[in-house]
């Protein structure tokens, strides 16, 4: 190899390494910057009152977002109960049982659903639940979020199941197991971690959705009992507080953002720990 060629290789290597490294830094940097900003702007407004109290009128000290934190929890619970089972089972169908044409159609429609703007899903939930029931409700908000979770859960489940080596299915079927037994006892357990990670991803993805909640869950300055009343949620709270003219509320909006991020992170860590323990018990 000539000296010039060697030098050229070294230079191109250096350039590419710098490019990839810089981009990786930027990717991490975005997250760090968001987190830093939230802490910088919002940490000051975080105190016991924020977690324990209801929102207070402007100028009254000690207001909090307890109702929105609980509201977000309730909405996500409902969304998960609705969206995750449908997503999981459709994913299983796609990966294990679907014929070619039916899988194609389901996959295509799922991708379309994934691409539907969240505000449109909100209108849909408004039309099918809020209008007939004549009230904004937790149910409508949870339904809207649940619909948004479906495509994410479907595709992540499908992808996870597809990573299970075909040899495992063969081994199970060669022992006389039916297709269903094989899926339930071998394939799903083998990809359990990946499936649950996908579910967490779906949850995290919708936890911060605001648009579908605006005219479904609507918002509430008070506690909301049951499932048939308007309910407060962190994203909608952030939206309302952030566009208000009050400095006090702006700080609380930042704090709410921080709490929302923290909750998603916490749910993630808890799921990882749970999955880890379950997996350990199994092996």
């Amino acid at each position: 190899m000539s000296a010039a060629r060697r030098r050229w290789r070294k230079i191109s290597n250096l350039v590419m390494l710098t490019c990839t490294g810089l981009c990786a830094l930027l990717a991490v940097g975005a997250m760090v910057a968001i987190l830093g900003f939230l802490v910088w702007k919002g940490a000051g407004a975080l105190n016991w009152d924020f977690f324990a109290n209801l929102p207070a009128p402007v100028g009254v000290p000690g207001g909090g977002m307890a109702n929105a934190i609980v509201g977000t929890g309730k909405l996500l619970l409902l969304a998960s109960l609705f969206g995750l089972p449908i997503g999981l089972l459709s994913g299983v169908y796609l990966a294990e049982f679907g014929s070619r044409p039916s899988s194609f159609v389901i996959r295509y429609v799922t991708d379309l659903l994934n691409g539907v703007p969240s505000i449109v899903i909100g209108i849909f939930a408004y039309a099918v639940i809020v209008l007939p029931m004549k009230t904004f409700s937790t149910l409508a908000g949870g339904f809207a979020l649940g619909v948004m979770m479906i495509p994410i859960a479907v595709r992540s489940t499908e992808e996870s199941l597809r990573t299970v080596p075909p040899g495992l299915r063969e081994a199970s079927e060669a022992l006389g197991a039916s297709r269903t037994t094989t899926v339930v006892r071998v394939v799903v357990p083998a990809s359990f971690r990946a499936v649950l990670t996908g579910m967490m991803l779906a949850l995290a993805r919708v936890a911060g959705e605001t648009a579908p909640l605006l005219f479904t869950a609507f918002g509430n300055n008070d506690w909301s009992s049951g499932w048939m009343r308007p309910i407060a949620s962190l994203p909608v709270m952030i939206y309302n507080y952030a566009i208000s003219p009050f400095r006090d509320w702006h700080r609380q909006a930042w704090a709410a953002g921080l709490v929302l991020l923290g909750l998603v992170l916490l749910a993630n860590i808890a799921a990882k720990l749970l999955i880890g323990r379950a997996a350990e018990a199994e092996y």
């Binding site: 022992l175 071998v186 092996y283």
Partner: protein
């Protein structure tokens, strides 16, 4: 699918409970009898008019170059081909005189176990791997006894008895393959199909598996696909040579290797092709 009328091979009927090879072991009982078997992947015919009688409690080896249909043939015996789309089979396969093609699939696969080329333990503990078959098939008796018995038969018990709850993935490749054999044995199959079980293993592991096959013959009939002609010569009593989806020759192993009757068999075993 199962053509009832094509059993007119020399071995058919009640008298055909005797072996294919009169000169070999006239007393051997036929466990599996294949007649006029044709197999298709879509429009492509992969097996042409295969006739073969597998003698009970012996090892029958299937040899031949890559793509000759050995594995395809093996997968017809327990109907594993049904997991693939667009396959078609005609002819007849009898297990102890019963039509395999009409049999309940779960029952058939309990009676004919299979071990694959690449070790494929489940991502579960050693114990749960072996217990899988008994659990789904609901075999009576104590589960732990069945597991121990199977692991002993697969010559793995001494190596894993203190690690039954550990992941099967912690075992070496050779141990994993013996675990797969134990898993197949746990439902007490009459026949064990082995699809190149040693091709991914080192010589020491291979020797262990060959040795345990020897002990298994008492209780099992073994049909084994192998690339390795030395292996076929070492472990099998009967050998079939396949080429391009046709069975060229089927004879007692010593005879097939020393005085093959077909020039193509001779060409293959002397290494002129394949």
């Amino acid at each position: 699918m199962a053509a009832g009328g094509v059993r007119g091979v020399p071995l058919a009927g009640a008298a055909a409970r005797r072996s294919a090879e009169p000169e070999g072991k006239p007393e051997a009982v036929t466990r599996i009898e294949v007649s006029h078997l044709n197999f298709f992947y879509g429009a492509r015919q992969a097996l042409h008019d295969i006739n073969l009688a597998v003698p009970a409690n012996l090892v029958t080896a299937l040899i031949g170059p890559s793509g000759c249909g050995k594995s395809t043939f093996l997968r017809t015996l327990n109907r594993m081909y049904e997991t693939q789309r667009h396959t078609r089979l005609d002819g007849s396969i009898l297990l102890d005189g019963e039509d395999v093609l009409e049999m309940d699939l779960a029952l058939l696969r309990r009676r004919i176990g299979m071990v694959f080329q690449k070790p494929n333990p489940f991502p579960k503990s050693v114990f749960d791997n072996v217990a899988y078959g008994p659990r789904i098939n609901g075999i009576e008796g104590k589960l732990s006894d069945a597991v121990e018995r199977s692991l002993r038969r697969a010559a793995l018990w001494d190596e894993v008895k203190d690690h039954l709850q550990k992941s099967a993935y912690a075992l070496s490749g050779g141990q994993q393959q013996r675990l797969c054999i134990a898993r197949a044995l746990a439902v007490n199959p009459e026949v064990l199909l082995l699809d190149e079980p040693c091709s991914a293993l080192d010589p020491v592991s291979t020797a262990k598996i060959e040795e345990l096959l020897f002990g298994l013959k008492e209780s099992c009939t073994i049909v084994m696909v192998t690339h390795n002609m030395q292996q076929a010569a070492r472990v099998s009593e009967y050998a079939a040579f396949l080429l391009d989806g046709r069975m060229i020759e089927y004879a007692p192993t010593p005879r097939l290797f020393t005085t093959p009757s077909d020039p193509r068999t001779e060409a293959y075993i002397t290494g002129r092709f394949g």
